[in-house]
């Protein structure tokens, strides 16, 4: 029996980071979707909801926290685990206030990141 693979959506606007995260998650057996566009989130179809969203606090043009707030306010996406990350340490508080389930500081310690992801599945 094939265990359903978990789907992670990574929202980040730096292409290099996106690239290695993809490789990393794939190696771990996750399905990875990436986007650098915040609008993508808003148009998520119910049928294609990821199992976890990894989202940067500072996205070009939009504040990741607002997106998280939105997600957490919607019935469909309320229970979806969200992990936010940021280069700013101080952003953790505001991220948690926005509703994120967890937070990781950039630059990531890979072990820490993978641990947290596994925890929230």
């Amino acid at each position: 029996m094939q265990v359903k693979q978990k789907k992670i959506l990574v929202v980040e606007d730096d292409p290099d980071i996106l690239e290695f995260l993809q490789v990393l998650f794939a190696q771990e057996g996750y399905i990875v979707a990436t986007t650098d566009k915040a609008e993508y989130i808003e148009n998520l179809q119910e049928s294609c909801l990821p199992d976890l969203i990894l989202i940067d606090v500072s996205l070009s043009g939009k504040d990741g926290r607002d997106i998280v707030k939105y997600l957490k306010s919607q019935e469909e996406t309320r229970f979806m685990p969200v992990i936010m990350f940021s280069a700013h340490l101080g952003a953790e508080e505001t991220a948690r206030a926005a509703g994120t389930d967890d937070f990781v500081a950039k630059p990531f310690e890979m072990d820490e990141l993978l641990e947290k992801i596994a925890k929230h599945f």
């Binding site: 730096d14 290099d16 990393l24 500072s58 280069a87 700013h88 340490l89 101080g90 508080e93 630059p107």
Partner: protein, 830 residues
């Protein structure tokens, strides 16, 4: 007259005569101690009072009809005084009481105080009256000098006009010659000439008298020179010269009368001591076998000065009789004389008092004059026309004119040309009795330099209250004004906000720059609207109070940064400092608008924030790909490559730390670094950190000693950060050593952690500064050690924010121990 010249028998007739004359009636009611004798012009006693019976033992018949000579001791008897045929109106010669010895019945002598009054011319009396009072015991002990002198007479007359002297002199000499006495006149040529004129006018044959040596005249000056040696009369010469003259005159045992004014000459030559000496010599001459009467004279003006008082008294003492100046002699009777003496006494007293008062006033004046002279302020006086009448030393210095140059000139020479009306303005006030106080104006010195002065002008009044001039005191305030102007320049330059504040917090004064800074108008300032406490946002109140406290203690505060509230409500960041104005409750301060600087700081910090963020992004990628590589190579088993990758990872971590530190720094500076508050176990943290750090180093062993068994309230991560910083520094700065010792302990209410290395150590002069932001020890050695220089600063700040302390002990070459202490929370708070 004829009645008087007859011999009178019995006593009834004279009594009838007396009854008519009130003047003498009191003599009749004579007490038993008084003898009254009437003598005619020839010297015959015409009456004697009954008291003679008891006092001298005679019967009346025995005396009346005798010559008075019989009664009086020869040494006390002067024929000229008791009538000798010629009865001149010698009213200038009055005899006051002097000693007379009278012969008693039994031949002994009894002393009396007697006086003789010549009333020959007085109608109804026509006699010379002698009054003799018994002498008290005291009188018998008169100074020896006097009794010796009574052997012969020596009297002195003080005269105001020469005429009066000549009156006495001609009487003295005339009577003498008439009585058969020899006369010696040692006088000035002028006096001699006039005397001889008078004598001749009375019919006297002077030439014959001279031929018989009855009249000897000598020049006073010449005679004086005969015995003066070195400014003093030589006794032997004097005796020789004068004695010789007297010898000649005294032939045939004639009584000699001498007039001498050599003493007066000496006195007028200012040789007072010689004059007195000469008087003494005359008196000594009385031991000479020949008796003589000596008449000296002095013009009154010789003694005009008060300084001669003593000498005048001495001269008087030298003489048996003193004849006061003619104004006194003009008085007729005893009552008048007594009155005159009393008046003179009173006058003398009041003169003395007045002189004393004047002396005092003079002293006071001298004192005032000294004060004026020694004053540092220029003091001058002027009359109502403005002419300068006095000028003190300070005025000379201030204005450059000497007193000589300027006294007599109008005060307007000191005025600036355009200010000449000032004089009239000032004088108008003065004439109204007003003073002009602290009037600031300009004056010009002799050399043309203009001074700024503050003057006070007051009216001068005479002793009746009339204003006769004005006094002015001037102080040079040029320097003071200059300094004020300099201050004013700074104030008005508006380069910086300047204010004056009182301790209560009211802005008393401010320049425009400050008003603009805070958005207030001058009117509002003057109304007292601007208050420190309302202008300061609440969060700076404590700081403000501390600053004011420091000001009152030490005299100044600042500079420190705070914010003011602009009138519009926005905040204005300022740099503030102030200094106390001495002896007041106010301070002078400046406020510099640092808005721009703050803006810049903000932008810098924002930049750092952004930069850190930007830097972290590529670092994240690096780590990410590194990790992937590591995974891949682990599978492949490429040990070497893996090793390299590990090294790379370490460096990337280091990079991350540096970036984090930078970020912290900027946050710290803007006050945005938040510290969490949680209770955590110190020992566990220490162990964890030490394990982590140990993993990063192969060169050093980290040793832990002690336990705290304590829980600390604070930000666990941050405290950990401090420990990491200390450990990393310890390792970095002791490359030659191989251990780092960590000690933990609990003390009272603190937790102590220390990290010791055995490395290069830190020199004394750097030990305080290493905790400062960006400070790096700049020795040539240390320069090889990498680092941003912010780690310690961050650690310092973290610990400080937790209420703890950080310090270092170090010796160059031996190593350093970094300590921090954190306060432990009380049981209740847990």
């Amino acid at each position: 007259m004829t009645v008087a010249s007859n011999k009178i028998h019995g006593s009834s007739e004279p009594k009838a005569v007396f009854r008519q004359n009130g003047q003498l009636s009191h003599s009749l009611s004579s007490n038993g101690s008084e003898v009254v004798v009437l003598v005619n012009a020839e010297g015959t006693v015409t009456y004697v009072s009954p008291s003679i019976i008891t006092l001298l033992g005679y019967t009346l018949e025995e005396i009346v009809g005798c010559h008075i000579r019989f009664l009086i001791h020869p040494d006390d008897f002067d024929a000229t005084q008791w009538g000798s045929g010629k009865t001149e109106a010698d009213s200038s010669l009055y005899d006051e009481y002097r000693e007379y010895r009278l012969r008693c019945k039994d031949g002994s002598w009894r002393s009396f105080e007697g006086s003789r009054t010549n009333l020959l011319q007085v109608p109804g009396v026509g006699a010379i009256v002698g009054t003799f009072r018994t002498v008290t015991q005291q009188k018998l002990t008169l100074p020896v000098q006097r009794s010796q002198m009574h052997a012969s007479e020596h009297f002195v007359q003080f005269y105001e006009e020469d005429e009066s002297l000549l009156d006495s002199l001609s009487s003295f000499i005339g009577t003498g010659l008439a009585a058969g006495d020899a006369c010696v006149v040692v006088a000035t040529m002028e006096h001699r000439k006039r005397l001889e004129e008078r004598l001749k006018a009375t019919g006297l044959d002077l030439n014959a008298a001279q031929a018989r040596d009855e009249y000897i005249a000598r020049d006073a000056g010449e005679t004086l020179s005969l015995f003066m040696v070195d400014g003093l009369p030589a006794p032997e010469c004097f005796t020789e010269v004068i004695g010789g003259i007297i010898e000649r005159a005294a032939q045939n045992r004639r009584h000699v009368r001498i007039f001498g004014e050599m003493v007066a000459l000496l006195w007028m030559e200012e040789n007072q001591s010689a004059a007195i000496r000469l008087e003494e010599l005359w008196n000594d001459l009385h031991h000479n076998p020949h008796h003589f009467s000596l008449f000296c004279s002095y013009p009154m003006h010789c003694f005009a000065s008060e300084t001669y008082g003593r000498q005048f008294a001495e001269i008087c003492l030298q003489h048996s009789h003193v004849l006061p100046a003619e104004s006194y002699s003009a008085l007729l009777n005893a009552d008048e004389r007594l009155r005159a003496i009393s008046l003179l006494q009173q006058k003398a007293r009041s003169l003395e008092a007045e002189i004393a008062a004047r002396k005092q006033a003079e002293e006071a004046l001298l004192y005032m004059a000294a004060i004026v002279e020694s004053s540092d302020d220029a003091i001058l006086s002027k009359n109502l026309d403005g002419i300068i009448t006095s000028w003190n030393a300070a005025a000379e210095r201030m204005y450059g004119y000497s007193a000589q140059e300027i006294v007599g000139l109008p005060v307007t020479v000191l005025f600036l040309p355009e200010r000449q009306e000032e004089f009239t303005q000032i004088m108008t006030r003065i004439l109204q009795g007003e003073s002009v106080d602290h009037y600031e104006t300009k004056r010009v010195r002799k050399d043309g330099i203009v001074l700024t002065v503050s003057i006070t002008v007051s009216p001068i009044k005479d002793n009746t209250g009339v204003i006769i001039g004005a006094s002015a005191i001037a102080r040079d305030i040029t320097e003071q004004k200059r300094l004020e102007a300099i201050f004013r320049q700074l104030f008005d330059s508006n380069l910086i906000g300047v204010f004056v504040l009182d301790f209560a917090g009211t802005f008393l004064d401010a320049n425009n720059a400050l008003l603009d800074l805070l958005g207030y108008t001058r009117t509002e300032l003057q109304a007292g609207v601007m208050q420190r406490d309302t202008l300061t946002p609440p969060e700076f109140h404590l700081l403000s109070q501390e600053a004011m406290g420091k000001l009152q203690e030490t005299g100044s505060f600042g500079p420190y940064e705070k914010e003011y509230l602009h009138k519009s409500g926005r905040r204005v960041p300022v740099l503030l400092a102030a200094t106390r104005i001495e002896q007041t409750n106010t301070c002078l301060g400046f406020a510099l608008d640092i808005t721009e600087r703050k803006e810049l700081d903000k932008r810098k910090d924002e930049f750092i924030s952004m930069a850190s963020h930007e830097l972290k992004t590529p670092v994240t990628s690096l780590k990410g790909f590194l990790n992937l590589l590591q995974r891949s190579l682990t599978v492949q088993g490429d040990e070497k490559a893996l090793h390299y990758l590990t090294r790379m990872n370490t460096q990337v971590n280091r990079l991350t730390n540096l970036i984090n530190d930078l970020l912290d720094l900027s946050k710290m500076h803007t006050g945005k670094l938040a510290y969490r508050e949680e209770l955590f176990a110190m020992d566990a943290l220490v162990q964890e950190i030490m394990e982590n750090v140990q993993e990063t180093t192969q060169t050093h062993r980290l040793l832990l000693e002690g336990q705290t068994q304590a829980e600390v309230l604070g930000d666990r991560d941050r405290i950990g950060q401090v420990l990491i910083n200390f450990l990393n520094n310890a390792i970095k700065y002791s490359p030659q050593a191989d251990i780092v010792r960590v000690r933990v302990a609990k003390e009272q209410n603190k937790v102590l952690v220390s990290v010791q290395d055995f490395g290069i150590g830190i020199a004394q002069e750097h030990q305080q500064k290493i905790f400062e932001r960006f400070y790096q020890v700049s020795d040539s050695e240390e320069k090889t050690y990498p680092g941003l220089g912010i780690g310690l600063y961050i650690s310092f700040d973290i610990i400080k924010r937790h209420g703890g302390q950080v310090w270092v002990e170090s010796q160059k070459g031996k190593g350093s121990t970094f300590h921090f202490a954190l306060p432990l929370v009380e049981e209740e708070r847990r």
